[in-house]
């Protein structure tokens, strides 16, 4: 921890510049933001009614921010985020492929190894992720950070953890395809790492010379998505780990794609 503090001190000493005014002489903002957006596809953490991955819900990402003005128009932003959502169990009615959605492909056993979910569809698999991000806020010409219109470019690291009801799966009886035999699928918990690049357009205000208010819209793109959905080929149809990685990443990618955020904080020093 000492090392972290020392590092932070060195970084701040390096970036601190006597000619930067900040707001009222204060250049560091500590705050909380909530990123949210009604997700057109994907359930929340608790409810997947009507038992479909298309159930719309409100995404929520809780975010703790530490921001520091280090240049005339720039702020460096470090944040830790906590994301919790759900991944709907597939009932095999739709497929993610374009044609599948068009023609209603149905697969009675959609999970790898010929499994289907046999539990409560309205309770989705829980997907949690702790994200770390590093970003630079560039304020538009004329503004003096931390007040004004800005564009923030950031890199996000996702540390995902998917927990699902692995014992409530079933596979077809080898002797009678229409007869399902209860069984478990995978380990029930997987962790994945992911990365995203985000661009935020926002506006930051300071109320009563103390409280920071931040709002805007963020667009995030996960390059891993391509690797998983295209380059990985059909692996996810046979490999449970790959299947859930794909499901988790798709969920996160969709959730992070467009978000609005509202944040509150205070001017620290």
């Amino acid at each position: 921890m000492k090392l972290v503090y020392s590092l932070l001190f060195v970084v701040l000493a390096f970036v601190s510049n006597a000619q930067i005014a900040g707001y009222y002489g204060k250049r560091c903002v500590i705050g909380y933001s909530n990123y949210f957006m009604i997700a057109p596809k994907g359930p929340g953490p608790l409810n997947a009614n009507p038992a479909d991955e298309a159930s719309p819900t409100l995404n929520n990402v809780h975010c703790l921010n530490l921001e520091y003005v280090y240049k005339e128009r720039k702020m460096v932003c470090v944040s830790a985020q906590y994301l919790i959502t759900g991944v709907a169990y597939s009932n095999g009615t739709t497929n993610d492929t374009f044609f599948g959605e068009m023609f209603g492909n149905e697969d009675q056993y959609p999970y790898p190894g010929g499994y289907k979910y046999a539990g409560n569809f309205s309770k989705p698999a829980l997907l949690r992720s702790i994200n770390l991000s590093l970003g630079i806020k560039t304020f538009k010409k004329g503004f003096i950070p931390p007040v004004g219109r800005y564009r923030k470019l950031e890199v996000l690291m996702f540390f995902e953890k998917l927990k699902y009801d692995y014992q409530n799966f079933a596979h077809a009886d080898p002797n009678d395809y229409d007869l399902a035999v209860k069984g478990s699928l995978g380990k029930g918990e997987y962790t994945y790492k992911n990365i995203a690049f985000a661009c935020t357009f926002g506006y930051q205000r300071i109320l009563n010379d103390k409280i920071s208010l931040d709002y805007g819209i963020r667009f995030a793109y996960t390059p891993a998505l391509n690797i998983i959905t295209i380059a990985a080929g059909d692996e996810y149809t046979t490999n449970v780990t790959a299947y859930f990685r794909r499901e988790s990443n798709l969920r996160i990618a969709r959730e992070q794609l467009i978000n609005v955020h509202l944040g509150i904080g205070f001017l620290a020093f």
Binding site: Y23, K140, I206
Partner: protein, 741 residues
């Protein structure tokens, strides 16, 4: 007996006083200032007046327009009253009011409603507000011929007030814009011209009604004959006096005859100009409408002067003195020189006039040197405000000047930077020697020495200590050659040198070389010149000419970096602030409307923010404000006036901080009073259309030398929230207050 003695003493004092009416300008003149108590009408806020006025506006189709006009004219009037341009309890205003009293003797009710003030402007003009305020410019008083003409000007303006011409014009203009006016229903262009026509009709009515009012008074109607001449020739100086070149010359400084126009351009002012797009009818029309009415039966019993001929002449003389200074403020340097020249013929030892000439010459010299160094015509521009923008100074085209003053324009146009500098120094030093106690002349002399050495690279050895006449008499042309080697045969080169020296002595082109022959005998002159030569400051620029591109670039970068560091953190402890500027404008259907009430509220808020930020930065803060004044606040009013004069002149100079702020020497009083030489001014222009736009500016001056220490503008597309404004102000003040590491 004792009583009789007292009466004698009093009488002697009166005689002494009246005698000094004309004698008081022999040695000096003190610029006009306001005195006494501030009138009540200066103390009410524009908002409170507007709110009262709005209540009196009846209902009807024009209600909105009347309301808009009332608010905008009240704010405009308030700005003018508190700008410091308006003189209170001054000899000019007092006299003009006496004339108004006489004119409105039979209408005491109207007299009560009329407030007349004199404004510090050299323009030959007067204007009226519907609320009863009439402003007469100093420039107009300097040109009038008699008291009756002044009475006529007042009568004309009073008609504008009585007939409420301003509001009627405003409403009619709106109707013409919308096409709902019965005055003109034609095309857009026709309606546009109709606006001018409507204004001209008002002016014609004011001329006629003004004349009728004069006829009702005891003033001579015949005396008005020249009233329109005053207007027609208002572009000319107040007197036409032949300019003699001896004004700048002495025994040794002889200006070449070729620098003097043998014949000046004739005065051929056209009184029948095209007035289609003019607010006033042309002079011929006005004269034609009024002059046939000038014949009255009782002319013999009428007078040109009723209040006092002596006082009129005294007032006019003061106005002429004051105009010299106002020309300087307006950067009309050559008019300032010529006006001073006219008065110096009458008061040859007046130091004020000599200072006006010296200051004007100084600034022309500086501007000439500056334009040689900087070819760009860079200007300051704050929020695209024309008043706060300006171009570099250049001598006006002499070909466009009529009358004897053309000689001055021509002469100064012919002189190059070195010649101008030499001429200015010679004039200023001689004026200083006659008034050695005058610090302004002393400072000007030093600055001119510095300019001579630093900008024009003229050193002591560039000036001859022997006059041309002496050289010719002693035949010194041969002397140097003979002393070198008397036995040697005269070479081709020594012949060339001799020839050149002969030409130099016989021609008058190089008059600068012999300009200081007399002055170089003065030990103080030589001492000051030597001192200036040691303080070379422009070495870097001189060197730059011989450098390669890379070296030059490196040097420029180094200078830029030094300048950047120099002005980034200033470490100033105390700053004097002007009342901030705030304007909120709403754009509806491409039409801009100023929200006066909100602007006023925001202005107060901005001042609070300034104070708060300054306190946080431990910056000693002082603001010259015209808000919440009482009748006893005349000193504050005058200080604000000095400040505004200074600022107006400084803005006129654009980015050339070498030019001296010459309009007022009073700035030193202000610096001493507040204990700081730094003046800051902040402002915001906020425009709200489909989106909000802000233009913020901060400017910091050094009052001693006019240098711009910091100039910052920020343009943002956002609302003018308090936090945004605070961030701007804090940033500006931080750079002012913090010391460089």
């Amino acid at each position: 007996m004792k009583k009789f003695f007292v009466v004698k003493i009093v009488f002697a004092f009166i005689l002494l006083f009246t005698g000094s009416v004309y004698g008081q300008y022999d040695s000096n003149y003190m610029p006009l200032t306001s005195s006494g108590l501030l009138p009540e009408e200066f103390l009410k806020t524009a908002r409170s007046i507007s709110e009262e006025d709005i209540k009196t506006i009846g209902y009807g189709t024009d209600r909105m327009a009347k309301q808009q006009f009332t608010i905008s004219s009240n704010y405009f009037l308030r700005d003018l009253l508190l700008s410091g341009d308006v003189l209170i309890n001054d000899p000019l205003g007092n006299y003009v009011n006496k004339v108004a009293d006489e004119l409105l003797k039979n209408d005491p009710e109207l007299r009560k409603q009329i407030h007349i003030y004199v404004t510090k402007s050299p323009d030959v003009n007067a204007h009226a507000f519907d609320k009863g305020f009439i402003f007469i410019n100093v420039g107009l008083l300097a040109q009038l011929e008699n008291e009756a003409q002044l009475a006529y000007v007042l009568a004309h303006e009073i008609t504008h007030v009585v007939k409420k011409h301003s509001v009627n014009q405003y409403i009619e203009n709106i109707k013409l814009d919308k096409g709902t006016s019965s005055y003109e229903t034609g095309s857009y262009e026709a309606r546009n011209i109709a606006k001018y026509r409507f204004s001209q009709d008002n002016e014609t009515e004011a001329d006629a009604e003004g004349l009728a009012r004069i006829k009702e008074s005891r003033y001579s109607v015949k005396a008005l004959n020249g009233a329109f001449d005053v207007l027609q020739y208002s572009y000319l100086p107040f007197e036409l006096v032949d300019f003699k070149k001896s004004f700048f010359e002495d025994q040794y400084l002889i200006l070449p005859d070729t620098f003097f126009l043998k014949k000046t351009a004739e005065i051929k002012s056209n009184d029948d100009y095209d007035d289609t797009k003019s607010t006033h009818p042309n002079i011929r029309k006005r004269r034609g409408a009024v002059e046939p009415e000038l014949a009255v039966l009782d002319e013999a019993s009428r007078k040109k002067y009723i209040v006092s001929e002596e006082e009129f002449k005294k007032v006019r003389e003061i106005a002429r003195f004051e105009s010299c200074r106002l020309y300087l403020v307006d950067r009309d340097y050559i008019n300032a020189i010529y006006a001073s020249y006219i008065l110096l013929e009458k008061y040859p030892e007046n130091v004020y006039l000599k200072k006006v000439v010296a200051k004007a010459l100084y600034n022309i010299t500086i501007a000439e040197s500056y334009s040689n160094r900087n070819k760009s015509k860079y200007t300051y521009s704050i929020a695209n405000n024309a008043r706060l923008s300006s171009k570099s100074y250049s001598i006006p085209d002499y070909e466009k000047i009529e009358g004897p003053s053309q000689r001055v324009y021509y002469l100064l146009d012919q002189l190059d930077a070195k010649e101008l500098n030499t001429l200015a120094l010679s004039y200023t030093y001689k004026a200083y020697k006659k008034n050695p106690q005058d610090l302004v002349l002393s400072a000007l002399t030093d600055s001119l020495f510095s300019e001579l050495v630093n900008s024009n690279q003229l050193y002591l050895n560039d000036f001859s200590k022997t006059s041309k006449a002496q050289l010719l008499a002693l035949d010194t042309v041969k002397a140097p050659v003979e002393t070198v080697d008397t036995t040697a045969e005269e070479s081709k080169y020594s012949k060339i040198k001799k020839q050149q020296q002969k030409v130099e002595i016989t021609t008058d082109e190089n008059f600068t070389k012999y300009a200081f022959v007399g002055l170089l005998e003065d030990a103080e002159f030589v001492k000051r010149f030597t001192k200036a030569s040691k303080g070379l400051t422009r070495k870097a620029e001189e060197k730059k000419d011989n450098l390669t591109y890379k070296e030059r670039k490196k040097l420029e970068d180094q200078i830029a970096k030094e300048n950047k560091n120099k002005y980034t953190l200033l470490g100033i402890e105390k700053v004097l602030f002007l009342e901030p500027f705030y304007m909120k404008v709403k754009t509806v259907n491409r039409e801009e409307m100023i929200n006066y009430f909100e602007s006023e509220e925001k202005q107060v808020k901005l001042a609070e923010i300034q104070k708060k930020c300054a306190d946080r930065l431990n910056l000693n803060y002082e603001m010259i404000s015209t808000k919440n004044m009482t009748t006893a606040d005349m000193e504050r009013y005058n200080l604000n006036s000095i400040m505004n004069d200074w600022l107006t002149e400084r803005f006129n100079h654009g980015d050339n901080s070498d030019e001296m702020i010459v309009g007022s020497d009073e700035i030193k009083t202000l610096i001493e009073k507040y204990g700081t030489k730094y003046l800051a001014w902040t402002g915001i222009y906020n425009e709200k259309g489909k989106k909000s736009h802000n233009t913020y500016f901060f400017i910091l001056f050094n009052l001693e030398n006019g240098e711009v220490m910091k100039y910052e503008t920020r343009y943002t597309k956002s609302k003018d929230n308090t936090d945004l404004v605070t961030s701007f102000v804090y940033n500006s003040l931080m750079h002012v207050a913090k010391k460089p590491k």
